[in-house]
């Protein structure tokens, strides 16, 4: 694995942006780094919406939010000193199975990423039981790479 081949897994949250900023600061003067911003897309739960139109509208809003986030994240990395040509974006669709964490790890393995960066929400124990923690699963299950968890 190439530790300068860096995968930053993001959603559109403040935690994810903190991870982007941290990576940008640390990597600012590093030579030969490649940074990939990975967004795992999960469609909103169809059962929540009265009809197809309402669901599609939510899908569109989610797309726009992620598009804006990735654009902003790229801008911050470039502003930190990483060449624009060294920043890549990738979106992967994920259903309930496998989990988001597993999908991230699949991308990490397949792309030979030696460093994985992720934000952390700071869940309570109870929240972790009921909802699960992506960062926790990554720390436990990642192989052949360093994992940076940014709080």
């Amino acid at each position: 694995m190439d530790f300068k081949n860096i995968l930053i897994s993001v959603d559109s949250s403040d935690n994810a942006m903190r991870a982007v900023d941290y990576a940008g600061t640390i990597l600012a003067n590093s030579q030969g780094v490649r940074v990939t911003l990975l967004y795992i897309e999960r469609a909103p739960n169809r059962d929540r919406y009265e009809d197809e139109a309402a669901w599609l509208n939510q899908c569109r809003l989610d797309h726009e939010r992620v598009f804006d986030f990735l654009k902003s994240a790229r801008g911050r990395l470039v502003a930190a000193g990483i060449p624009d040509s060294a920043v890549f974006e990738r979106t992967v669709l994920c259903s309930a199975e496998p989990s988001i964490a597993q999908t991230i790890l699949d991308v990490q393995q397949e792309g030979g990423f030696g460093t994985l960066v992720v934000g952390r929400r700071g869940l309570t124990k109870g929240e972790e039981f009921l909802f699960g923690s992506v960062s926790n699963k990554l720390v436990h299950n990642a192989k052949n790479c360093a994992v940076w968890v940014v709080q």
Binding site: P44, N45, D47, R48
Partner: protein, 315 residues
């Protein structure tokens, strides 16, 4: 009311008088306006409304205006009609607040999945003239598991050795039923001890009410596993044991012995009933405030419970 429907009502009307011949509804959107004596016409059948269903907990009745107790006039059988009522609301689990939604689509989908499976309530989703999905449900011929257990008047020790192994065996079969949903990408969504019924004839357990849903999360089955743990604790303890009801000093009970979400509820039941085997108690402790490892899937829970059941059968 048309003469044909009036004749059906006359044939199958209940032993009490129908105060008047109400309206025949084909559109159930305004479910608050549908009441006693009205008829819902749906999928070629007619359902005489006897009243609204209500949730009975802690001696209180909470009416559910979108759930109608009915008689299917073509056959005279009792039916429950759940009319479409979409809502999102906050559910509180201990200190946590979870936004959940009620979905007729989800329940109708699961009813299709579990058709003919006695581990689940039976019925089907039918669209009314306005496109609302109405779930026409058969009556579960049984009684709530928790009420059955509360009616067992033997000591806990007698219960645990004589009755509990069979209850645990049937509960594990009910867990496998939930796993069946999970394997198909579904969740029950509202696993509570009053949503598990005991079939009068077979004694097997049957799940009801699966219209709750939640947004996707990293552990999609976490809430179901949480519900199963609560029921396991209830059946093992032959009820709920609140920390304020026991001598905490004498028993050496602390907050770590209580449930993660309900800090007054003892889950370290071995401290109350020392004959509960260590391996079974260890399963319960996965739901305690001190646990660092949680069950994420039903097979994980069952893998720990199966040897417990084997051991109990040998004693």
């Amino acid at each position: 009311m048309p003469e044909t429907v009036r004749a059906l009502v006359e044939r199958f009307k209940p032993p009490v008088s129908v105060r008047n011949y109400g309206t025949v509804f084909t559109d159930t959107t305004e479910f608050m306006n549908i009441g006693y004596g009205d008829v819902i016409a749906l999928g070629g059948k007619h359902y005489l409304v006897m009243g609204d269903e209500s949730e009975r907990r802690f001696g209180m009745e909470d009416p559910k205006f979108w759930v109608k107790r009915c008689i299917e006039l073509e056959c005279g059988l009792y039916r429950i009609l759940k009319l479409q009522f979409m809502e999102s609301f906050d559910q509180h689990i201990g200190p946590l607040t979870i936004t959940c939604h009620r979905s007729a689509t989800k329940e109708a989908r699961i009813l299709r999945l579990v058709a003919g499976d006695p581990r689940f309530m039976q019925g089907q989703g039918i669209k009314d003239s306005a496109g609302n999905i109405v779930r026409v449900l058969e009556r579960v011929a049984g009684r709530r598991l928790d009420l059955n257990i509360e009616d067992i008047h033997s000591s806990h020790q007698e219960y645990f050795f004589d009755v509990y192994p069979d209850i645990l065996r049937r509960f594990m079969a009910a867990c496998r039923a939930i796993h069946h949903l999970h394997q198909h990408g579904e969740t029950h969504g509202d696993i509570r001890r009053d949503h598990l019924y005991v079939d009068h004839k077979t004694g097997d357990y049957c799940w009801i009410d699966f219209d709750y849903g939640y947004d996707s999360v990293e552990n999609p089955f976490g809430l179901d596993l949480f519900g199963l743990g609560n029921i396991l604790s209830f059946i093992t303890g032959k009820g709920v044991h609140a920390i304020q009801d026991v001598d905490t000093d004498a028993l050496g009970l602390a907050e770590a012995d209580c449930a993660l979400f309900f800090r007054h509820r003892v889950v370290n039941l071995r401290k109350l009933f020392p004959y509960i085997p260590e391996d079974l108690n260890r399963v319960l402790m996965h739901y305690s405030a001190e646990s660092e490892v949680f069950y994420e899937t039903v097979p994980e829970l069952l893998a720990d419970l199966e040897p417990c059941l084997d051991n109990l059968r040998r004693t």
